[in-house]
Symmetry: C2
């Protein structure tokens, strides 16, 4: 029996050669995401993976339905697996915003689902780090998010040579559009044309812009000048104070296709240009109002980063840590009569916080030792007699005999010393 196409199994390490998606690597990435989010004082949240279909069409229109895992449930409700997290968080904030002090700083790591016509290797699910700030319209909120995005990438040892945040603004484009006599009813088409500019032939772009009352040259000059608006300057100054200026640049090519952004927008890109955007986000001050039927009006800004491009990038830069099973001690059991004493010792070590493996059923001593090495254990330990055990450090090959009850303490000292050195 096979899993569905476009879905991933996450097996433990070691994986067969060439595979990347281990459960251990996934856990490592999630752990880092949690840690950085906490250091930025963001709080965790989550919603259901299944939501009313109308939540997603309210934000993105009926045309999104073709890309959804939607169906009718047994209670005849139109439901859908979530394709993105923003509608859910907007719904949650709208329902409870009075309960929380502002600004609300929340993050989540949902699995998201899109039914796209299958392209080779294209996934239909992925995990995504989402962070949002609600209730603060100052560009300081945008800067806080961008700084966290930078630190999320730096936490995987990526540097300013690996990625850059391309910073732009819907307001900058709106000002340009208005000051040059743009017709407000065509603003959306104009943003779409900007969004596609880098992937469109110049003649075609020229035609599009002329239909909207602009010239390609006009647009290109505005991008080339790259004059920051006041809000973008505030973001840049804020990031500079944090020592992060080398990670950002103004780039008005970025506009983010989605209709709902209202201010600062940005995307994180691979400097080598090999991959799709690593992350993207911006300000969306109208969305909570939209999702709450106009009842709540709360400024909002946020970004999202998927696991797929991040992992491809880390693999490409050889920054993917090789994560073993995290087993620290292998308890050898060479004589079955010592099994009860060995189990007792293992229990003591595990209660002391150590990760301990041992042979469940009798196997030969040399096989046990090989297993300890395969598992990447740092120590073996075996019961010597009623009172003492022999601890062996597999790196230094040093053996030490000691009273069983001192084992846990001795191990703690050993590790601490290593950490302090």
């Amino acid at each position: 029996m096979e899993r569905l196409p476009g879905f991933r199994d996450f097996y433990p390490e070691p994986l067969p050669d060439g595979e990347a998606w281990s459960a251990n690597v996934r856990k490592h990435i999630f752990d880092v995401w949690h840690e950085i989010a906490e250091s930025y004082a963001f709080q965790p949240y989550d919603g259901p993976p299944l939501e009313p279909l109308s939540l997603f069409t309210a934000k993105s229109g009926q045309e999104i339905v073709g890309q959804l895992y939607n169906f009718e449930d047994k209670g005849e409700r139109a439901v859908s697996l979530r394709p993105e997290m923003t509608p859910t968080v907007a719904r949650m904030v709208a329902a409870r915003e009075r309960h929380y002090k502002k600004p609300i700083k929340w993050y989540s790591i949902p699995q998201l689902f899109r039914y796209e016509r299958q392209q080779k290797g294209r996934l239909r699910e992925h995990f995504q780090f989402n962070a949002d700030i609600f209730g603060e319209s100052d560009p300081a909120a945008d800067a806080e998010l961008i700084a966290m995005l930078i630190d999320l990438l730096r936490a995987f040892s990526l540097t300013a040579e690996d990625f850059v945040i391309r910073l732009s603004s819907r307001n900058a484009w709106q000002d340009f559009f208005n000051q040059n006599g743009g017709d407000e009813s065509k603003a959306y088409d104009f943003y779409q044309a900007i969004d596609k500019l880098e992937r469109t032939a110049p003649e075609e772009s020229e035609k599009k812009f002329q239909a909207l009352g602009f010239t390609l040259e006009q647009v290109r000059n505005f991008i080339a000048a790259g004059e920051p608006t006041d809000e973008l300057q505030a973001v840049l100054d804020n990031l500079t104070a944090r020592g992060m200026s080398e990670f950002v640049k103004i780039d008005y090519n970025v506009i983010r296709g989605l209709a709902y952004y209202t201010g600062v927008v940005y995307e994180a890109f691979d400097r080598h240009g090999k991959f799709r955007a690593i992350a993207g986000g911006g300000r969306y001050d109208q969305l909570v109002s939209l999702v709450s039927g106009g009842k709540k009006n709360i400024p909002a800004a946020g970004f999202a980063m998927g696991d797929v491009v991040l992992l491809e990038l880390l693999k490409d830069r050889k920054l993917l840590p090789r994560i073993e099973g995290n087993i620290e001690i292998y308890a050898l059991l060479e004589d079955e009569s010592k099994r009860p004493a060995t189990l007792s010792m293992i229990q003591m070590l595990r209660e002391g916080g150590w990760n301990v493996e041992y042979p469940l059923a009798p196997i030969k001593p040399d096989k046990q030792f090989r297993r300890a090495l395969e598992l990447g254990a740092e120590f073996t330990v075996r019961i010597e007699d009623d009172e003492s055990a022999v601890l062996k450090n597999l790196n230094t090959k040093m053996e030490k005999k000691m009273p069983i009850e001192e084992l846990a303490e001795h191990l703690l000292e050993t590790i601490c010393k290593n950490n302090l050195e």
Copy 2:
């Protein structure tokens, strides 16, 4: 817009009075689950939340479909949200078992989905800790799983006065059934009658057993004797060696209704009898063969523990930790001209691993201080002049002025001292 009935939102703390399901508590429970599983040398895995419908009907028959979130996807595949994890892990093991050394010890924390006719407050999703050992038929594997289950519960400060593992065996019942002349074609009905015995009126049970060629008294005597089989004795001895005998008792009332168990079975129960089973599991040596169409034949044993009953139990025993936002330091900003220097200091502290909050936009100093207290911060810090900052310990109220670059180091020392004391 509302979420679907039977689904939970996980909001951050603080929750409104009376609500239990915070994202912080969920994360705490998951963190503990991960930690204990690692100490028992289990490896993480995960599969897709959406699987072919046939994976679940292969194991449980067509009758399960009425309880599933199943539908036809846009590629005309019959698919279902997973109602349990065991078929997925059996599928994964069958596909890759030759790649992994035995025994395979795996765990997962999936979200599971069942469409049950809505009863008041009954959830249609929950999270479940799953652990399995593949490739080891010795009762040592069952004991290892039960020991981990005990430690998973003890990790939340539950004691032998709170819960007990009721230990039983399909083999014991099968022997009883055969030795007393049971008709093999009716064995499944017999197991079902045992499974329901505690919830069925005696007259009705009597009728059922007589139809199967037994008397209720016969069955009751067997349960009351509670003679452990050899395999159960091996499990008890193993747990006794670990100092865990007080957490288990032989109880042949337990049989686990599901058809696929083949040996040792068990359930963890609240000693006060207030709640449904906290966890349950057993040996299922035939399932991998079933799921792989007979291609793979691997002994297996495992258990599952849901988040719902566990949380109710912890709440009942007042063992649910009050988990705040985990914010350690609040940086005060009383003079906007110091914002750049403050941001620079915050960046230094966050890079040092501290969780730091601060006012994104200007707010009054007394409000900032109140916010620091509300967030449960341990320290405030503020820039004094170009070179120095003032650190205040909110517990001791002690203030200390020091050079900014020494802050991170000083904080580390303070915390270490607290930990060592």
